[in-house]
């Protein structure tokens, strides 16, 4: 088992390196950090040339890459062209906020999705099953941004209006109410609820279907029949043999989903003005702040690769057959 882990970890390192090269090349080829400010009247042509030199854009590509890589690993991600603030701290804060929202979404989805999926499998073709399937299809076909806007409208604006409240129950923007001192858990919850619902609806749709399919497959298996033939109590059969085996594919999927959280909440964050990675990316693109883009993509890719690794390891931990692959 440990040999497998070590092998996978070692394998990830070249993957990371190659990804960094690719990301670097693609971003450099498609974006020009200077382009944004070149339109600004503040800069004269000579300033632009100097800017280029300052940013090291005149050096050969390989040198640029290596120098950037060295800086990146040490946490020096340069300064934003627009705001001139260092990129690293702001991005780290944004990352934290995104992870918070993402984990909330995935967590809620797991709780509900797994339960729904298992129950659907156990009561296949029942009314509940059809209802759950219909709801899942709805969740899968729903345009995220539309649903988010609808939620904002109905639960945010209308709810307050209909009940004539002075303060909304569910907030539609930001992580916390400006002006609130310190850490008010209730306030935070009020803010995080709507975006979490948006995420959860989609993820539950996927997880419940996944779990249902996985559980159905396990329920047909021979070893389940053997367990019953041994006289094992039904509940134990369903849990120790059914769920235990059916959850395996889902856990890898969850790990992969967590990995894609870093860059995957763009729409939700934009609509709810959630101060995370997604919003950071969009505003960077909109403002032409391309020095932000490169570290941003690197962070998200690293996240994905890291959690791919986690997924593989979890799979091997849960399914002993994999360990010899």
């Amino acid at each position: 088992m440990w040999r497998y882990v070590v092998r996978r970890v070692l394998f990830s390192i070249p993957v990371l390196l190659i990804s960094s090269v690719l990301v670097f090349v693609v971003i450099k080829a498609t974006t020009d950090p200077v382009a944004a400010v070149s339109l600004s009247p503040r800069f004269r042509p000579e300033d632009l040339v100097q800017l280029r030199i300052d940013l090291g854009l005149d050096r050969p590509p390989v040198v640029q890459y290596l120098s950037w890589l060295g800086d990146f690993v040490q946490g020096d991600w340069g300064n934003s062209i627009i705001t001139n603030r260092p990129v690293y701290p702001d991005m780290m804060e944004a990352l934290g906020n995104t992870i918070l929202l993402g984990l909330a979404g995935v967590g809620v989805s797991l709780l509900i999705g797994v339960g729904v999926g298992i129950y659907s499998a156990l009561r296949q073709y029942s009314f509940f099953d059809y209802l759950a399937t219909g709801a899942a299809f709805l969740g899968l076909s729903m345009p995220t941004f539309w649903f988010a806007l609808m939620l904002q409208l109905i639960l945010g604006v209308y709810l307050t209006r209909w009940f004539g409240l002075t303060k909304p129950i569910f907030y539609t923007t930001g992580m916390s109410t400006p002006g609130v001192e310190g850490f008010d858990i209730v306030d935070r919850l009020q803010h995080i609820t709507l975006p979490t619902i948006v995420l959860a609806v989609q993820i539950i749709a996927v997880y419940s279907r996944y779990m249902r399919a996985s559980m159905l497959e396990v329920l047909q298996s021979d070893f389940l029949r053997t367990a019953r033939a041994k006289g094992v109590r039904e509940r134990r059969v369903l849990v120790r043999h059914g769920m235990r085996n059916a959850l395996i594919p889902l856990t890898t999927q969850v790990a992969l989903d967590v990995g894609s959280i870093a860059g995957g909440l763009i729409i939700t964050e934009t609509i709810f003005s959630w101060p995370g990675m997604g919003r950071l990316f969009i505003s960077a693109i909109d403002l032409g702040d391309y020095t932000v883009v490169l570290p941003w993509v690197m962070v998200t890719v690293t996240f994905v690769i890291l959690f791919n690794l986690v997924a593989d390891i979890m799979y091997a931990a849960l399914d002993p057959r994999i360990r010899y692959a």
Binding site: F223, R225, T226, R228, A229, G231, V232, P320, R321
Partner: protein, 335 residues
């Protein structure tokens, strides 16, 4: 005459499907007495597995229509509450299945799966159950049982897995062991070992054994009585010698005739003509009539009853006793 351990009376198991009603088991009656080994022979789809899955209450389909009686020591298992049937499983009646690789849970250790039988039937100490499981693995001939018990099913060979399955089933000293195609998934050399193991353990534990198979060769050496099934019905039954040396049914003849023999003069293999029967579109009359080389008009309209010939030997065929004897002598025994 000992008291029957298991008595099945007119068992019918029908499954409604999209294409029609599948009559998997259509009126089957037989007895199993303590200490005997019963061989149940038939091709795929003959209903042999479904019969015994029904005995154990393992028919999963909720739409299945089950009629008849399954008397285990006098109690009808079909009317017993599920919890009581569950309690019998693994403890007094056990079943092992065809493909030990898929029949064992790949993510649990083999030892744990054997020990689970103990946990299922009473509050046992974990360590105790494990020790006993290791002991059972040793009993079925698995070398280095302590090490092996900690391994996973995919680390075992086919034969060893089947031995582990046997260990699981014998854990609580059952009175009836049902083996569904125990050797089909194994190499020929291993087959013999497994069957010998079953024999040996049967003696030691004084159990009754049912071996379900499509292989007459398997049955020949290890069974006391034989039951031949076709299309959900029993077509012939009797003691082993009855079936081999005095069989009275065209299907049985076909089965015997299709065995390749080393000592017979070289000729072509003789399979039974025709295709396996559909369990939905069951022909009126004898189910074997479409393929029977001795078919008569009455066979197509009247289903033959299972009539006794001598002792426990019985057959379901419209041919007269004399005709059957003649055909057997001339055609079957001569080969």
């Amino acid at each position: 005459m000992s008291e029957a351990l298991l008595e099945v009376r007119d068992l019918k198991v029908h499954f409604p499907t999209e294409d029609g009603l599948v009559k998997a088991v259509d009126g089957v009656s037989f007895k199993v007495t303590p200490g005997e080994t019963l061989g149940v022979v038939g091709e795929s789809g003959s209903g042999k597995s479904v019969t015994f899955l029904t005995v154990l209450g393992l028919i999963a389909s909720r739409d299945a229509r089950i009629e008849g009686q399954v008397l285990f020591r006098g109690q009808d298992l079909l009317t017993l509450p599920t919890e009581e049937v569950r309690s019998l499983r693994g403890r007094e009646i056990c079943m092992i299945f065809q493909d030990p690789l898929t029949a064992l849970n790949p993510v649990h250790r083999v030892g744990a799966q054997v020990a689970e039988v103990f946990h299922a039937h009473g509050n046992v100490d974990k360590k105790d159950a494990w020790e006993r499981a290791v002991g059972l693995l040793d009993l079925v001939g698995i070398p280095r049982p302590q090490e092996r018990a900690r391994q996973y099913p995919h680390e075992f060979s086919g034969g060893m897995r089947q031995r582990a399955m046997i260990a699981m089933s014998l854990a609580l000293n059952p009175d009836l062991l049902i083996a569904d195609e125990p050797t089909t998934a194994l190499d020929v050399t291993v087959q013999a070992q497994i069957l010998d193991l079953i024999d040996r353990l049967k003696q030691e534990f004084n159990a009754a054994v049912v071996i379900i198979t499509h292989d007459l060769g398997v049955v020949a050496e290890h069974c006391d009585d034989i039951m031949v099934m076709y299309a959900g019905k029993i077509v012939e039954e009797g003691e082993r010698d009855d079936i081999y040396y005095r069989s009275h049914h065209p299907y049985t003849w076909g089965l015997l005739g299709s065995i390749a023999r080393l000592d017979a003069p070289r000729g072509r293999l003789r399979p039974i003509k025709g295709l396996p029967p559909s369990l939905i579109y069951v022909p009126p009359g004898c189910p074997f009539s479409p393929r029977c080389p001795h078919v008569m008009d009455v066979c197509r309209t009247d289903p033959p009853e299972l009539l006794p010939i001598e002792g426990s030997h019985a057959s379901a065929c419209h041919l007269t006793f004399a005709e059957r004897e003649r055909i057997f002598r001339e055609e079957v025994a001569a080969r």
